[in-house]
């Protein structure tokens, strides 16, 4: 297991550096989770996704299959995602608009099988938001649920690596599967409107990401806040679309100077992205992030207060050795709390490069 080895090497370099019992347990858990799993439940998860993929492909005609399938190492297709509407930043694959009801249902069943119920709900809320945007803009052709694309890179397999991509305006879910392992990075999870009402129910697709982050900020003491709060404005994502493979110098407050409660809160914020993936992949990912938590940074830029029930209008970034999360409200002529871009990356494993290399 890569992570285990890397920690080991770091330990040797550090000489006297010793791993705490807790970290060791975390690594052990992670190693166990990431070993070629024999647990029947985990096998079921991947085989369920493969089965859903094959079912979806079986509903397509030859031409549609050609449109939806790409080579696993097709770098152009991997990077063909954006926060922008599909009319402005064209995607490839098949849009939901091009699918009949049965095909559409099979496509969404495939996406659902690869995500946790909570993750799929978030995806649906983002799509629903785009439909709201379309309707409220007088049937604006830039937006709507029809303009989300699905594509498959490689051949769906329970053993060999392959990728599922699903996205459109404010959404890019890139899932790489290799045997029982799954990776959800890079993924762009945004929302506009980031707060709307549907059938009498208020929907905030990124509400938890907002609420948990400001709760963490408020849990920091004055000195910690001074370190966490950056003195400059951040207008957008730094590592958004087109910025694959980059790692910027971290800033803000290092979690090593947080107390246990604050670190737990930080992990809880991170889990909002990690838990979009199916449960086994999310658990492995969280174990990896937990092992790194003391080397993880939390930075905040912008207002430190929020109207109850609304989203924050501040930017924040969480960055660790295997993690970059950015939350960036957009001041695009409207209320920034209603238009949010977020980015979720693992600079060491975007598109599952680490998995696929094994």
């Amino acid at each position: 297991m890569n992570v285990f080895n890397r920690r080991g090497r770091r330990g040797r370099r550090g000489g006297a550096e010793t791993l705490s019992m807790k970290t060791a347990c975390g690594i052990l858990t992670l190693a166990l989770m990431c070993l070629p799993v024999n647990a029947p439940m985990a096998q079921t998860t991947t085989s369920r996704i493969v089965s859903a993929a094959n079912t979806f492909l079986s509903t397509l005609d030859q031409k549609q299959r050609q449109s939806v399938l790409f080579a696993f190492d097709d770098e152009k297709q991997r990077a063909r995602w954006s926060n922008l509407p599909t009319t402005m930043a064209p995607r490839a694959g098949l849009s939901l608009k091009e699918l009949n009801p049965a095909q559409r249902s099979a496509a969404l069943a495939l996406v659902s099988s690869a995500l946790s119920p909570k993750g799929f709900e978030k995806v649906q809320q983002i799509m629903e938001g785009d439909e709201v945007l379309k309707t409220s803009g007088g049937n604006n052709p830039l937006f709507g649920k029809d303009l989300f694309y699905i594509s498959i890179l490689g051949t769906p397999s329970g053993k060999d690596p392959w990728m599922l991509q699903f996205g459109g305006h404010h959404l890019a879910v890139n899932i790489t599967l290799a045997g029982e392992r799954g990776v959800l990075t890079p993924s762009l999870i945004g929302a506009q409107p980031a707060l709307y009402s549907l059938n009498g129910k208020t929907v905030r697709p990124l509400g938890q990401e907002s609420d948990k982050a400001i709760a963490l900020l408020n849990a920091l003491d004055e000195n910690q806040q001074k370190q966490a709060i950056l003195s400059y404005r951040l207008a957008d994502l730094v590592l958004g679309p087109g910025q694959d493979g980059k790692t910027i110098q971290p800033e803000g407050l290092k979690a090593s100077v947080m107390n246990e409660r604050q670190r737990t809160m930080l992990l809880d914020v991170i889990s909002e992205w990690a838990s979009i993936a199916r449960e086994t992949a999310a658990a492995a990912r969280m174990a990896e992030i937990k092992a790194d938590i003391k080397d993880t940074w939390f930075a905040w830029s912008g207002p430190t207060t929020v109207t109850p029930g609304s989203n924050i209008t501040a930017y924040y970034r969480i960055q660790g050795p295997h993690l970059v999360i950015e939350y960036a409200p957009q001041r695009l002529g409207g209320d920034p709390s209603l238009h949010v871009h977020t980015m979720y990356r693992d600079p060491t494993n975007d598109y599952g490069r680490r998995l696929a290399a094994k």
Partner: protein, 247 residues
């Protein structure tokens, strides 16, 4: 389904929210800097907002023919670089354009198209503690600047501090280079203006060192001749030295 959507639209909480998916009144300029021992590399992404695009375009498509020619691209890139400055330890570096890529006018018009520039600059070798200052003042009235440093690939280079002003038009980066002493200047140093000044000063010094004794000798001979002709007999230090020269 239709009913749900109508309900959604009717119950939209943010009445009058513009259905805008694009940057509007800002000109996003995101720079990522990469520091190496002898070089600084940077990538700049410029994204004009819909509302400011006509103004930006007027500065790019200078002949207003609706096409951004290669010459116009180069001229605009030079203008952007001219509005930037990069110094290391106080020495201003010469920025070299490495590559440029312009999105189509139609894409930029919608607020989604980018201009991508890459530039680099040679860095003289210096001491272990270095200070980089990057400033971007391109279209500062409409700009939204972002500037960041990539984690150095060279494990011997370690970032120690980053500082910015609120707009991020000013960025200071302090870093440490391991295994470096303040030693002889590298060849890159000679290519900088400071290098040429230093070289000129050295030449001037050498010239003086060669010419001055001869001139001094001649001058002293004249002085002594003058003194002798006027009947001065008291030895002076100058004439003492001149006697030596006479021999």
């Amino acid at each position: 389904m239709k009913t749900r959507l109508v309900a959604a639209a009717a119950m939209l909480l943010m009445a009058g929210t513009p259905a805008s998916a694009h940057r509007l009144d800002e000109y996003l300029q995101a720079t990522t800097i990469s520091v190496e021992r002898d070089r600084v590399q940077a990538q700049v992404r410029l994204t004009p907002g819909v509302a400011v695009f006509p103004m930006v375009l007027a500065n790019i498509d200078t002949d207003a023919d609706g096409i951004i020619s290669e010459a116009e691209q180069r001229a605009y890139a030079a203008r952007v670089l001219g509005d930037m400055s990069l110094t290391i330890d106080g020495d201003r570096l010469q920025l070299r354009l490495v590559s440029l890529k312009f999105a189509k006018i139609e894409e930029m018009k919608e607020g989604g198209g980018e201009i991508q520039l890459e530039f680099d600059a040679d860095v003289s070798s210096g001491g272990p503690n270095r200070r980089l200052i990057f400033e971007n003042h391109h279209e500062n009235r409409i700009a939204a600047y972002l500037v960041n440093c990539l984690v150095p690939r060279d494990p011997d280079i370690r970032i120690t501090a980053q500082d910015r002003n609120y707009q991020q038009s000013f960025y200071q980066l302090n870093y440490v280079q391991a295994g470096v002493r303040s030693g002889p200047r590298s060849s890159a140093w000679w290519s900088s203006s400071r290098g040429w000044l230093g070289a000129a000063a050295l030449l001037l010094f050498a010239g003086f060192a060669f010419v001055l004794p001869r001139l001094t000798g001649r001058a002293l001979r004249v002085v002594c001749f003058f003194r002798e002709s006027k009947g001065f007999t008291e030895p002076v230090s100058l004439s003492t030295r001149t006697r030596g020269l006479r021999r």
